[in-house]
């Protein structure tokens, strides 16, 4: 990314930050939402802990609360990667600001990526809050969460590959929004499947045997398992190589495919004159 593009990307972030803080109570509501969600997981994990004991991944130390916390964190990033591009593009279309941006001497892909950047940063902030609040909550239990920093490298690598994969799908969804004016179906499908089958809230081992193969088709399954093993038990890259390899294949296919579909949709929308229509 050139310095000029970085400055433009920052302008998007700053603009969206100003809009966000213009809603005076938004921050308090977000903070309240995080604390409420973590509290909810904390409360229910206490109930479910015993029932899921057998299928819990031993590598997470049998702590369901930690399991959920480190499932939700990557899941949140997957969600934003899947939805931010299409959602922001649609929002700018509907509010009427898209045309004003597209007549500026800035490349259209940068406009789309820049528009979504704040969502990624805000999600980072939210995820950090989840983890911090979760660690504080866990201090009041018999099994406090302890992070293993030696696995941070593997976790970051796994995480990056998952984001690249999801961004590829998210860009495809944005391309659908741009060309067909609808793109939610693909995202909703993956999102719902990931939440249910991706080992976010409960171990995939708890699923019926006939369903378990489907979870292996989802990038989030490898991510949640890999991130937990890295951060909660300290496994490194060599131990998590199979996860990394699968995610690398997902990213290597889906990211270029997403970019290709996006370019085609952009060309088609400009040809059809529907770029700013919704």
């Amino acid at each position: 990314m050139t310095a000029g593009a970085a400055r433009k990307a920052w302008a998007f972030v700053w603009k969206d930050f100003l809009i966000e803080v213009s809603y005076k109570s938004a921050f308090i509501l977000h903070l309240g939402g995080v604390i409420f969600s973590v509290g909810l997981w904390f409360f229910f994990s206490g109930f479910l802990q015993e029932n899921l004991k057998e299928s819990m991944d031993a590598l997470t130390g049998g702590n369901l609360f930690a399991f959920i916390l480190f499932g939700v964190a990557p899941y949140s990033y997957q969600q934003v990667s899947l939805t931010a591009f299409g959602h922001r593009f649609r929002e700018e279309q509907v509010t009427g600001t898209l045309e004003a941006m597209l007549v500026c001497p800035t490349r259209t892909p940068l406009v789309i990526f820049g528009s979504a950047l704040f969502d990624f940063l805000f999600t980072s902030f939210r995820v950090v809050l989840y983890v911090l609040v979760g660690i504080v909550f866990s201090r009041f239990t018999a099994r406090p969460i302890v992070l293993h920093w030696e696995g941070a490298g593997a976790a970051i690598l796994i995480f990056t590959l998952m984001v690249a994969t999801s961004v590829g799908i998210g860009i495809m969804a944005a391309a659908f929004v741009m060309y067909f004016k609808k793109g939610e179906v693909l995202v909703t499908l993956i999102s719902s499947a990931s939440g249910l089958l991706g080992g976010v809230f409960f171990p995939t081992g708890a699923l019926p045997d006939s369903i378990q193969p489907f979870s292996r088709l989802l990038p989030i399954s490898y991510t949640t398992d890999g991130v937990r093993r890295a951060l909660l038990t300290g496994e490194g890259i060599p131990a998590l190589l199979p996860h990394i390899q699968v995610l690398f294949v997902f990213a290597a296919v889906l990211l270029p495919l997403g970019l290709f579909v996006f370019r085609a949709a952009l060309r088609g929308a400009r040809r059809d004159g529907t770029l700013v229509q919704y």
Binding site: W10, I19, G96, V276
Partner: protein, 336 residues
Amino acid sequence: MPDAVTVEDLGKTFIKRRSLRDMLTRPWVPAERVTALDEVSFTVAPGEIFGLLGPNGAGKTTLLKVLACLVIQSRGRALVHGHDTRHAELRVKSSIGFVTSDERSFYWRLSGRENLHFFARLCNLQAGRVKDRCQDLLERLELTDKADHPFMNYSSGMKQRMAVARALLHDPPVLCMDEPTRSLDPVAAKHLRALIQGRLNRGEGKTILLATHNLAEAEELCSRIAILHRGRLRRLGTLAEARSWALARERYVLEVSGLNGAVAAEELDGGRVTVDRGAGDGLVTVRAELEPGGPALTRLIDGLRARGALIVSCSRHEASLQEIFDLTVGGPEGTA
């Protein structure tokens, strides 16, 4: 110096998307095609205010969108300051400022200044210049008083001036204005027209491409006009030339007193005359349509005087742009 805008044989055909049901039940029926622009050619000289006129659906906005690289043409080419819209998108966008009448094209929760700062970055202004440039434009467009207020609180006139300010951020030589006074009251519209003509065109030498169906506005501002109708360029020229399109015959209105008898047809060289004897004040209004450049007016006056008439006044009627427009597009909204 290249022309500010060159449009050569420009064509745009939209293919209407078919519904899924239609595609499944009648796959052999080709998709409907709509021609928005067809063989449109003209040039705009640097420093000119060029009016793009036409009824709704004439193709004005499509043409402006091609120039702003929002739509790719099907045929022909369009150049802005010598840069091709198809192959040099960023250079074209650097040379053009787009003024839309859509108030929703700003972030309403941000202030005018914050909006301008954001768009200034997209227009490649260096960080150090953004603040000064925005302040300068806010001052020039008389927006400083409310610069730090939320955009949602601005009046329509201020919103439109903000649109002009945004289009000027990167100081482009060409401004495309799509019905800039559409939502303004007469006072705000007059203010904006004065700004366009006085400061932007005469003061800064900007080339202005003005799409409008406000004919009085075009008449006041534009040195040349193009009339588009159903995607085709019907007329192109100066206002004086435009009047000559409308007036195959010259029109005169004479007020006379003491007229006895009718005016004979042979005195008019094939022209037409109507006589309105008025409300009994002794003044008679004579309206004549005569062959231009001939002796018909002299003959008419001689004929009137021979019948005892005293010529009180004689004026030549200039065709309004409305008449020219109606003649070109065939009646109101081009429906005739």
